[in-house]
């Protein structure tokens, strides 16, 4: 069914359009004046001024891997992030924790864990989907590199960026 949009009849003044044009001009000039007089200040002068201290708690910067309070890598290579990642930036090769390791109980760890930062869209789905709370979008946003290879974050780099995250998961502790 076609839907008819009713158009209101314009008065003569409105038909001239000039008052509306003038009103528009007034709005824009007001903005300009406010910026000139320093009343508005929204632009941050990067890199002299940085967001770092103002970043909100949930800021989505570079995805990183974290270790827990025991220094154990939280990631168990469940590959859910690899599955959920919309641009398929994550590649994981799972491995088995061998006998004799303190965390043998955990059984699995990522042998290789790569995030291609050229592909990453910082959507945070990996963080959201992670059942072990091992992957976090930290506040790093200035991710640059000179080669494509450099932009693929390997496991050590991911842990270096991620650091330690305590709490949250107690499952792999001795009595759990």
């Amino acid at each position: 069914m076609a839907y008819t949009v009713s158009r209101s009849k314009l008065t003569f003044g409105e038909k001239l359009y000039l008052p509306a044009v003038l009103a528009g001009l007034k709005i824009t000039i007001n903005h300009l004046i406010k910026v000139l007089t320093g009343k508005t200040k929204v632009t941050m002068q990067y890199p002299e001024e940085r967001w770092d201290t103002h970043l909100p708690e949930h800021y989505r910067g570079a995805p990183t891997l974290v270790t827990d309070e025991h220094g154990r890598e939280r990631c168990v290579a469940c590959q859910l992030c690899e599955f959920i990642c919309p641009p398929r930036a994550i590649t994981i090769k799972p491995g088995e924790i061998k006998d004799g390791d303190r965390w043998r109980k955990v059984e699995k760890f990522p042998q290789e864990f790569e995030i291609d930062m050229i592909r990453c869209i910082y959507c945070g789905l990996c963080e959201e989907v992670c059942p072990e709370q091992a992957i976090f979008l930290r506040k790093d946003y200035a991710i640059t590199g000179l080669t494509r290879a450099e932009m693929v974050h390997k496991k050590d780099r991911l842990y270096e960026l991620g650091g330690v995250m305590t709490g949250l998961v107690f499952k792999w502790n001795e009595k759990k």
């Binding site: 690899e82 599955f83 799972p94 088995e96 059984e107 699995k108 059942p131």
Partner: protein, 556 residues
């Protein structure tokens, strides 16, 4: 024809259905579209009724004083409901039976059982290989409550137990459904598994001094509804949701078990059985199941090669095919021999036969391959398509009968050109030094071996998982192979290589679709009359008039 099975009237969730006598209640519900969740129940095994997941409300018709069912206003029997929930997996349907699969009580039963199963479960889905095909996960989502009220410590049990050479057990994940125990006892006839300890501390284990080393041990992994039993080979390799599943058949023996090939990004990860009650039920032997690692080998032949003096050099397909054709043209029919393989598909064998015909030689055969059989699935004939080779005329009733004669011919020098298709001739009675003296030695294979080293033209071909085609199993059943992954490098499907070779030899126009190859066969081979590749279907068709090539072993 036996007497028709009488149909019984059964009321399921208020609707009356008819089921043949002998149908289990749980199956009847599923057929009526009211799936009843289950853990311990497996249609091919006995019913111990221990998981209590399939509890439903059940009732029988109320009997009047005249011992006849009382009829309600709708003319249907009035049902006397049993106050307690009943398991549906151990009972057959009865006339006038009533079933409720989604009443309040049934739902509470399912919530209860799900909660109980999960309180001592480690909930380690992130590392568990079963995740994604785990019934505990699925039913928990569908029938569970979504939360746990369990605040206590879980029961600790043995983890990563090497139950056998191919099976690893995690007892904490085990829900003690006993499917594996029953499989080993009832199907594999190797009663090696059992429970130890009791109550919540019960755990699965092999009998003292025994290991789960049956050739059918990996079927316990298949039927394990949770991740307790895992395949040591597949363990921690890939999450199942990444796997692309391709319906195919096992090519490790003449039984031709139906399979699902799990692959991701052109890598094979596992092969699991696919139910076909005419061939393998839902089972498969470990030998066949794990016999795919060659496909992933880094040694795979990827480029056609031509011999220049003593070196094999990489060449284009055009160059390699024309070199092979030119080489063959140089010899008389009696100087040429073709060794085909019982591992080739019908389509490949069809072209192999055309090749034989076009060079007009009578020196051709296949290499027989045998091994010990068992009384379940594994056949003594280890070539998957000997029947096809016979049917298409590449060997006599006794495969390999001419092989020694050809080998002698090569040795004595009156056979000067040999085409070896997917066979290592040095393992089939040919001497490596003889092969080196051949004027033309055209070899088609997937992996390097002593034969490929001596080829004058080496043609890399596709493995069983990389091609389509059909095979005939030991019982004369025509079944399909499907392509799961792409061939590495420039390797091509065998039938295409053979077609091109024949085109170079005879100039005849070839066919360009495997469907057309089969069509051509169907027109010329009476047994294939009226069939096409698509008509074979996923479960295959039984061919009439194809006699078993060798003693058939009993199968499940």
């Amino acid at each position: 024809m036996s007497d028709p099975v009488p149909l019984l009237n059964v009321q399921i969730d208020g609707v009356w259905y008819q089921f043949p006598k002998g149908t289990r209640v749980i199956e009847a519900c599923a057929q009526a579209g009211k799936f009843v969740p289950r853990y311990c129940y497996h249609p091919k095994l006995s019913s111990p009724g221990n998981c209590r997941m399939c509890l439903i409300e059940m009732g029988m018709p109320r009997m009047g004083p005249d011992r006849k069912p009382e009829l309600g206003p709708d003319g249907k029997p009035v049902i006397n409901w049993i106050p307690r929930p009943q398991i549906s997996c151990a009972q057959d349907v009865a006339e006038g039976m009533g079933v409720r699969t989604d009443s309040q009580l049934v739902q509470d039963c399912r919530h209860g059982v799900m909660e109980f199963l999960l309180i001592n479960h480690p909930l380690d889905c992130p590392i568990c290989d079963q995740a994604g095909e785990c019934e505990l996960q699925e039913f928990s989502v569908q029938y569970g409550t979504g939360g746990s009220r369990f605040r206590e410590e879980k029961v600790k049990k043995p983890k990563h137990v090497h139950l056998g050479p191919r099976v690893t057990l995690d007892d904490e994940r085990c829900i003690l459904c006993s499917r594996c125990i029953r499989f080993m006892k009832e199907v594999a006839h190797d009663d090696v598994l059992g429970f130890a300890s009791r109550g919540s501390h019960s755990y699965l284990t092999a009998h003292p001094g025994r290991v789960l080393d049956s050739n059918y041990s990996l079927n316990t992994v298949d039927i394990c509804p949770v991740g307790a039993l895992t395949s040591t080979d597949f363990r921690f390799k890939m999450r199942v949701w990444f796997l692309k599943e391709t319906k195919s058949i096992c090519t490790s023996c003449a039984t031709g078990c139906n399979t699902l090939i799990g692959s991701r990004q052109n890598v094979l990860y596992r092969q699991t059985p696919r139910e076909n009650n005419d061939v393998n039920s839902p089972w498969m032997c470990d030998y066949g199941r794990l016999n795919f690692h060659d496909v992933n080998s880094t040694d795979r032949l990827t480029e056609p090669q031509i011999r220049h003096l003593s070196n094999l050099e990489t060449a284009s397909w055009t160059a390699a095919i024309s070199r092979a054709a030119e080489d063959l043209k140089r010899f008389q029919p009696t100087e040429i021999a073709v060794i085909a393989s019982g591992r080739m598909t019908n389509e490949e064998l069809w072209f192999a036969k055309k090749l034989v015909d076009s060079v007009k030689t009578s020196n051709y055969d296949i290499v027989p391959r045998t091994g010990p059989a068992d009384d379940l699935l594994l056949n003594s004939i280890r070539n998957p398509n000997t029947n096809g080779a016979q049917l298409l005329g590449l060997c006599s009733d006794q495969p390999g009968a001419k092989l020694q004669q050809i080998a002698d011919g090569v040795s004595q020098g009156h056979i000067k050109a040999v085409v070896a298709l997917q066979e290592d001739l040095t393992a089939a009675g040919f001497k490596a030094t003889d092969l080196e003296r051949l004027g033309a030695f055209i070899v088609m294979d997937i992996l390097p071996n002593e034969t490929t080293k001596r080829a004058t033209t080496l043609l890399p071909s596709a493995s069983f998982a990389e091609k389509r085609g059909s095979m005939i199993n030991v019982k004369g059943r025509l079944q399909r192979l499907n392509r799961a992954i792409q061939s590495p490098g420039n390797a091509r499907e065998d039938w295409e290589i053979l077609r091109d070779l024949i085109q170079h030899l005879t100039g005849a126009n070839g066919v360009y679709l495997i469907e057309d190859v089969f069509k051509q066969m169907a027109e010329n081979v009476p047994q294939f009359q009226g069939l096409s590749l698509s008509k074979i279907g996923d479960l295959g068709v039984s061919l009439e008039g194809v006699v078993a090539a060798a003693p058939v072993t009993a199968s499940a």
